[in-house]
């Protein structure tokens, strides 16, 4: 069991990172989208490893089944061939990459400094059947207000998207 989890984690992690890198580097946006989907799916797998079944499902349905579909849509609506022939990286790419790595290094230093301090509690063998209910309770009791605000945010976003996507008359 233990080893199985280990193996699964490594599998998912490698898959996620690899496809993430491919996503950023691909020239073809559609491939990029597919790789991002792969990353998201493996992230979902990691959620499952962390016994967050509900989040696993949310990740799959919302992210992969919803948001990414949107992306693929837009990608197909905008003309690809042009952008595929253009230079993919902007002028500041070198500086940016370097700075990003510096940032990563700082974080790395932070995590490394505190390595081994935090450990997960022993994992129950079968996934606890209560996760969904627990999330629901937290969401609808303690986080009610944020939940409502989030819903309003979604509404606003929807209206905004509709307004922007609408064809201006004349």
């Amino acid at each position: 069991m233990q080893t199985l989890n280990q193996a699964l984690f490594i599998f998912f992690a490698v898959l996620a990172v690899a496809s993430a890198i491919l996503m950023v580097t691909r020239r073809n946006i559609v491939h990029g989208a597919v790789f991002l989907i792969t990353t998201l799916l493996s992230t979902a797998g990691i959620f499952l490893l962390l016994q967050a079944e509900f989040l696993f499902i949310v990740q799959v349905i919302l992210y992969v089944g919803g948001i990414m579909v949107l992306f693929v849509f837009v990608i197909m609506l905008v003309n690809l061939d042009v952008s595929m022939r253009q230079v993919q990286f902007n002028r500041q790419w070198f500086v940016a990459g370097a700075l990003a790595l510096v940032l990563a290094g700082q974080f790395l230093f932070a995590i490394w400094a505190g390595r081994g301090a935090l450990r997960l509690p022993a994992m129950a063998n079968e996934i606890s059947p209560k996760n969904t209910e627990a999330v629901a309770d937290a969401l609808f009791s303690h986080y009610m207000l944020p939940f409502e605000i989030a819903s309003i945010l979604l509404l606003v976003a929807m209206i905004g998207a509709v307004v922007m996507a609408k064809r201006r008359a004349g």
Partner: protein, 688 residues
């Protein structure tokens, strides 16, 4: 004790017409004519039923306390105030319905005659436009009139009073596209305003002197304030109230509107300007008789005005050629009779005459309407004649009505009129003489009307000639019923002398009976039976004489009237033009009012507009110019200066800000790195 149903629900009586009125005025346009007529006539009939019920339940009560009031709700809450004599009083006016013999009679007359006239109208107005509008107004009028007669205080009565005024205005101007009609409506309305002003003042004075506006409190109030007979305050109240009455009931000097009111549809003339509304004044005087009986001078004024009006109107009626005009003036003169009666203290007689008059004058108008209907709109009697064969029913009913109004034995008019004359004779021979003479003239001009219309040779235009036709049943049935009433109407108060026992008078006694409690002696019957008989015989004689005279002039020697007219030319002209009263009023009031309006208009255009408005406008423009200069040079200037400074100072920043999202993000990352580095630095030091 459980109060009788109909008395308990007395307030329903005005409600039914109100409801249908509302329906008519809001939805009537969509309704079919027959539905309209069923609704309206039906509602009036229902309230007639309720009235009858109420009447009988009232009669069922013992003679003494035939009185019942029903307070719907408190309208004006108690407001304390000081009366003239310093006592503290409460000004209370509830929405309070009362019924006593007087009101009972009135609602019977109003709803009964009203119902008949509604039925008649369904026939008469059948082909007119605005059918629903007509009936809506009519029912609204019924409502107002019933409120008027059922009110138990001056305020509520005033509501009805104004209501009927409004409706009469609306109905006179029913053919508003005809200028004369709308003018007549306005005239009626304005003249009534004058009267209403007096009425209002009377009400104020009453509440100030007696401390109440409730009718049923007036008697006790008079007791409490033990007023002497002829108390000046009371006289003043009585006179002011009488002004109102004169306005509503078309007495000198406010009678001028009634003849013009004939512009309205004939049923309106019958209902409002003959049977019900115009008698409101008489009703009001009777209702407040307690005050009048303590103000003999006012009484005398009332009587005098009534008598003079009667004679005056009669003389005008003699020479009129428009059939409705004649009837109108006769109405005025009959109203004069009623006031004469009230004036001589024969209130019951006045009301009695009011009732009989409602019957036969209503009938006269309806019949005249039928005639006009038959002649397709012709009103000029010189264009009539020899119609008796063509429209028999109309003829006979009209003849009956004429006999009644002329006071031929034993028709309704005979009884009531002789009652009045008898009372008048006791009080004052002069008044009696005027009334007596007027009776003769009445007979004369009424029969002149009949003869000119129905007898002699036909003077009808040819194109009209061949479609003269008897009116539809809906119009004839009311005629017949009213004719019947005009015949037997007198029996309800058949004088003792002729072996009757004047029920009606006794029935009304309790109302004027307040006189008994107040300290003036009750009216005593005619001095002696012989006297009464003689009076009757004399009047009958005169009446017959008048009829014969009419017959002689308008059947026998038809050329004579023109001769006579030529003979006393000036006088004839004077009378024919109604003594130039209208012209006089125009000269005295109307034109002056117009002048005032012009003057005010000039003031408005030149002073208010010229100096005020335009001046203000000019000032504003000037100020705004000044402030504009300030804006451009001082305010904007400073702003621009600030902007310029910022522009100069922001040069280096603008170099960094190239508008590319990613470079901004780059700066974010740099900031992040900086923060983290600082944090690590702190942490490092925290360790050591």
């Amino acid at each position: 004790m459980n109060t009788p149903y109909f008395l308990e629900h007395i307030w329903l009586i005005p409600l039914f017409p109100l409801l249908t009125a509302a329906v008519m005025l809001f939805y009537g346009r969509k309704l079919a004519n027959n539905i309209v007529s069923y609704l309206c006539a039906g509602s009036v009939f229902v309230s007639f039923i309720f009235s009858v019920g109420a009447f009988f339940q009232l009669v069922a009560m013992p003679q003494g306390e035939r009185f019942f009031t029903k307070v719907l709700f408190e309208w004006v809450p108690a407001v304390p105030y000081h009366m003239f004599d310093g006592r503290l009083a409460q000004f209370v006016a509830g929405w309070e319905f009362q019924i006593d013999p007087l009101s009972a009679v009135m609602i019977l007359v109003v709803t009964g005659v009203g119902f008949l006239i509604h039925v008649y109208s369904t026939g008469y107005m059948a082909l007119e436009g605005g059918y629903y509008r007509f009936f809506g107004y009519l029912n609204l009028f019924m409502f107002a009139m019933l409120i008027l007669v059922l009110a138990n205080n001056f305020l509520m009565m005033f509501v009805g009073w104004e209501g009927v005024g409004t409706c009469s205005y609306l109905l006179i101007g029913f053919y508003f596209h005809r200028k004369s009609a709308s003018d007549a409506g306005k005239k009626a309305f304005i003249v009534n305003r004058v009267g209403d002003a007096g009425f209002l003042l009377g009400i104020f004075l009453c509440s100030a002197v007696l401390g109440t506006v409730r009718f049923s409190d007036i008697g006790p109030a008079l007791h409490a304030g033990n007023f002497q007979k002829g108390d000046p305050w009371l006289t003043a109240i009585a006179l002011l109230l009488f002004v109102g009455a004169a306005g509503k009931s078309a007495q000198i000097p406010l009678y001028v509107w009634l003849p013009d009111a004939m512009e309205g549809p004939t049923p309106v003339s019958a209902l409002i300007h003959a049977a019900t509304m115009v008698t409101a004044g008489v009703y009001m005087v009777t209702r407040t008789n307690a005050i009048y009986q303590l103000a003999p001078k006012a009484m005398y004024v009332v009587a005098l005005v009534g008598a003079i009006t009667a004679l005056f109107a009669a003389t005008i009626g003699v020479v009129q050629n428009d059939i409705k005009k004649v009837l109108a003036y006769s109405t005025v003169s009959q109203l004069g009779y009623m006031f004469l009666a009230c004036g001589v203290g024969a209130f019951t007689a006045g009301i009695f005459h009011l009732m009989t008059h409602a019957f036969f004058k209503g009938l006269l108008f309806l019949a005249a309407g039928s005639v006009i209907h038959a002649l397709s709109g012709e009103q000029d009697m010189r264009k009539m004649g020899a119609l008796s064969k063509r429209i028999p029913v109309t003829y006979w009913t009209m003849l009956i009505a004429t006999l009644a109004i002329a006071g031929i034995f034993p028709f309704a008019g005979f009884v009531s009129k002789d009652l009045i004359l008898g009372k008048a004779y006791e009080q004052d021979v002069l008044l009696w003489a005027i009334g007596y003479f007027t009776a003769g003239m009445t007979a004369f001009y009424m029969f002149r009307l009949v003869f000119m219309t129905f007898h002699g040779t036909s003077r009808v235009d040819h194109e009209v000639e061949h479609h003269i036709h008897e009116s539809p049943k809906a119009m004839l049935v009311p005629l017949v019923i009213l004719a019947g009433l005009s015949i037997v109407g007198g029996l309800v108060s058949w004088p003792e002398i002729l072996g009757g026992n004047s029920h009606f008078v006794h029935f009304l006694e309790p109302v004027v009976g307040m006189a008994h409690q107040s300290r003036i002696e009750p009216l005593k019957g005619p001095s002696s039976r012989i006297g009464e008989i003689n009076l009757m015989l004399m009047s009958e004689g005169l009446v017959v004489l008048g009829i014969l005279f009419a017959w002689y002039l308008y059947i026998k020697r038809t050329e004579l009237p023109a001769k006579i007219a030529k003979g006393l030319n000036g006088f004839y002209e004077l009378v024919y033009h109604k003594y130039y009263v209208d012209e006089l009023y125009d000269a005295l009031f109307v034109n002056r009012a117009k002048d005032l309006g012009l003057a005010l208009g000039w003031f408005d255009t030149n002073v208010i507009n010229g100096v005020g408005v335009d001046g203000a406008g000019w000032l504003t423009r000037f100020v705004s110019r000044a402030s504009m200069w300030w804006d451009t040079w001082i305010v904007d200037g400073s702003v621009k200066l600030g902007a310029r400074i910022v522009w100069v100072l922001s040069l280096p920043v603008r170099l960094i800000q190239d508008g590319l999202v990613q470079s901004y993000m780059l700066f974010i990352v740099i900031g992040l790195i900086g923060f983290l580095g600082y944090y690590f630095y702190l942490a490092h030091h925290a360790v050591h």
